[in-house]
Amino acid sequence: MKPILASAVVATTIFLNGTEVNAQTAPAANKSKPYMNMGRNATPAEVAAWDIDVRPDFKGLPAGSGSVAKGQELWEKQCASCHGTFGESNEVFTPIAGGTTKDDIKTGRVASLMSDKQPQRTTIMKVATISTLWDYVHRAMPWNAPRTLTVDETYSLVAFMLNLSEVVPDDFVLSNKNIAQVQGMMPNRNGMTQKHGLWTVKGTPDVKNTACMANCAQHVAIGSVLPDYARNAHNNLAEQNREYGPYRGVDTTKPPVAALPSSGMLMVSTASAPPKAVGPADLFKKENCSACHAPAAKLVGPSIADVANKYKGVANAQAMLEKKVKAGGAGVWGAIPMPAQTQLSDADNKILVQWMLNGGK
């Protein structure tokens, strides 16, 4: 406390002495901007640690190399659980590969983008610049352990993704020396435009509507509605609105009401639902377990059902898994490690493991 008090006294003194003192201490060139010396200079090592971006002209790309074969090995260990063995998976994120042809590599335009044939746009269909792939894999992958891939591993993985898309052959080695040549083979390299009015405030909009006020549409037709089967797809809308005031939520657990309720009838259907107690399922979400584990499908980690099946009737499963959740680990369900959950209380850990072993019930 003492130094702070002391400096406060000094500051007061300066203030009481008037502006002359301030004028003397401020840099002469920046009288109107007395804050110009704020912040400190970054050291070269600090800049190097954070300046990781790689631009389309390859500014920022570190030297290194990696083979398709090495990439495949890494892919199966680190990437396939989310992206599928061939980059085709649509389970967790949109697919990486697919939808491009040898012809696209020649033209630099992905033909399937011009029709409705391809149901989904894959990463390789869209990306125009190989630097984008390199930058993102290096900065943000694997998804649950970002920035853990080395430079050479990144080259290998980019090579493998391009091999999946038949841009480079099986025996290819991608490096900082040949990456510019590979850029020349990117299937959608000519498929981007920056000519539009949506980059600056002064840009020209696409459409020009008029502010017609009367008799603007001869014939009003409804072109699209939500299908009946989707009525409750977003859960009960009555529970997503206020239970008082003029606008209540529709009870989507029931068919639409036959007529306008009016005459004093109040729709309080949701009030009969007991308040939801905070249970293991909520805890599972709150503790972020659901980021990697789904009820029945494999995500980054095994599904709850798979875990329950594997340890059915296994003695000590409860204690063993509690320990594992706390410490983290890898190997049982593949190479992607489960991070240690050190923040978890013993009581919550017990509840969660019990719940998982019970199949999420």
């Binding site: 200079n41 970054a42 631009r55 983008l113 900065r139 998804w143 909009p205 997503q240 004093g264």
Partner: protein, 457 residues
């Protein structure tokens, strides 16, 4: 007499309410009450359960017949809050909304994404008032999950084409001259689910990637000035986040020097962790992805960076197969929030119809509302303040005669741009785009009072 039996007695007083049907409480609720007694939460719940079990008798406000000729039990009966001592000050040191507001929360759209750490939670626009979004309801969109970043360990680095590459601590940043401004933030994909057809039921899911707050921070131009940015060669900046995705966005130097700020506060408090605590970029008028959260680095460069979210996502597929890159401006748009999809009207008569309008290019000049699917329009009242690149609240009178109605709103900004129909947008952009859908929204009110999401044309 215990609290519990007093409540039970008042609830079952003859002539006020009919006798309860059996089993109106679940076993779980009964066990809870036996164990803990009826506190305020449970008491409110008891009363509501009772009403529900009766099939909703009770008087519903003005103009409706009373069940009891003597009057409204809400007036005739002494309520618990009139006859007992309430809670102490600072019982809730940071405060939370009323328990009766529990339904208005951020929500994920089921099935939209598989992993919640790379997902969206939508703002409940159907229940908000005015133009300011409460901090706890500001929409969330993360790419690799959020952290509570220790502000003492947070740094902002500015590097690249600058005279001095510098590092700022939170202490440094918060000593600098700050500004406070109210701006909307809208995700480029807001309403994107509806490019092809109607896909979701309520305004929370159609338009809820939208919020508006008073942000406080230091203008980015001040920081670039301090570092001596090379404004001749440095035509672009790259903003980078401190999260796992290291979210990166390019923007032009012109924009960076205009009204962009490095903000630490939102509506008078520090940013919430979900919205970028301790600092985020505020880029007025531009889609949310550029408002880089947990901002850790600004690089000044001479070329755009084409990073993941500007080369793979947030690009608009045009009918000719070309992708539009760096589409950023959120064009003039509006939506009626009450009544809106998924709501139920009980009766004919007067309603105040209310909604929001905004433009990434400036101020809202006018909002028109149609109650016949866009054939005839009336001009709505704009509520103050009307600010540039901020939400503007509009209201309009409506007397509903009970017949089917399609309501729409159409905003005009001070550049003269008129919000388009979905048909006009599709004519230019096709149906396979995702981003920048600013079409006029239609809500259908059916004869049974149910409001639903429809597209006209």
């Amino acid at each position: 007499m215990s609290e519990r039996s007093k409540t039970m007695q008042s609830l079952s007083t003859p002539n006020l309410i009919r006798k309860a049907p059996e089993n109106f409480l679940s076993q779980e609720a009964i066990a809870q009450i036996n164990q803990h007694g009826a506190d305020e939460t449970r008491r409110g719940f008891l009363r509501k359960s009772f009403m529900a079990a009766l099939g909703g008798v009770g008087a519903a406000g003005s103009g409706l017949a009373l069940a009891n000729p003597q009057g409204d039990p809400a007036i005739l009966e002494k309520q618990i809050w009139q006859t007992t001592l309430g809670k102490n000050v600072a019982t809730e040191p940071y405060g939370t909304p009323s328990i009766y507001e529990k339904n208005l929360v951020r929500r994920e759209s089921p099935g939209l994404t598989r992993v919640s750490a790379a997902s969206v939670a939508f703002t409940p626009l159907q229940g908000l008032f005015g133009i300011i979004t409460p901090n706890g309801l500001h929409f969330e969109r993360h790419h690799q999950g959020w952290y509570n970043i220790d502000p003492n360990k947070h740094r902002l680095m500015i590097n690249g084409l600058v005279k001095n590459e510098k590092v700022f601590t939170m202490n440094d940043l918060m000593r600098l001259p700050s500004v406070s401004r109210i701006h909307f933030i809208e995700c480029g994909a807001n309403t994107g689910l509806e490019w092809g057809n109607v896909a979701v039921p309520t305004v929370q899911y159609t338009h809820g990637m939208l919020s508006c707050c008073e942000f406080t921070g230091v203008p980015l131009s001040t920081l670039l000035d301090i570092c001596g940015a090379d404004l001749k060669k440095g035509k672009f900046i790259l903003a980078e986040g401190g999260d796992g995705s290291g979210m990166t966005r390019t923007m032009s130097m012109e924009m960076a020097l205009d009204d962009v700020m490095v903000a630490w506060a939102m509506n008078g408090e520090m940013l919430r962790p979900e919205n970028g605590f301790p600092i985020r970029l505020v880029v007025p008028g531009v889609q949310g992805v550029s408002w880089v959260k947990w901002l850790r680095r600004i690089e000044v460069g001479d070329k755009p960076y084409a990073t993941k979210d500007e080369a793979i996502h947030y690009i608009d597929l045009m009918p000719d197969g070309l992708h539009r890159q760096y589409t950023s401006i959120q064009e003039c748009k509006s939506v009626i929030t009450t009544p809106s999809g998924g709501q139920q009207l009980f009766d004919k008569g007067y309603y105040n119809v209310s909604g929001l309008a905004w433009s990434g290019r400036g101020k809202i000049k006018r909002v028109d509302v149609s109650f016949d699917g866009g054939n005839n329009w009336r001009t709505a009242r704009l509520e103050t303040p009307v600010l540039t690149k901020a939400l503007t609240r509009f209201n309009i009178d409506w007397v509903w005669d009970g017949s089917p109605t399609i309501m729409q709103s159409r905003a005009i900004d001070d550049t003269g741009y008129v919000q388009p129909t979905i048909r006009q947008l599709r004519a230019v952009r096709g149906t396979r785009s995702i981003y920048h859908n600013n079409a006029i929204q239609s809500w259908k009110v059916d004869t049974n009072g149910e409001v639903s999401n429809v597209q006209v044309g």
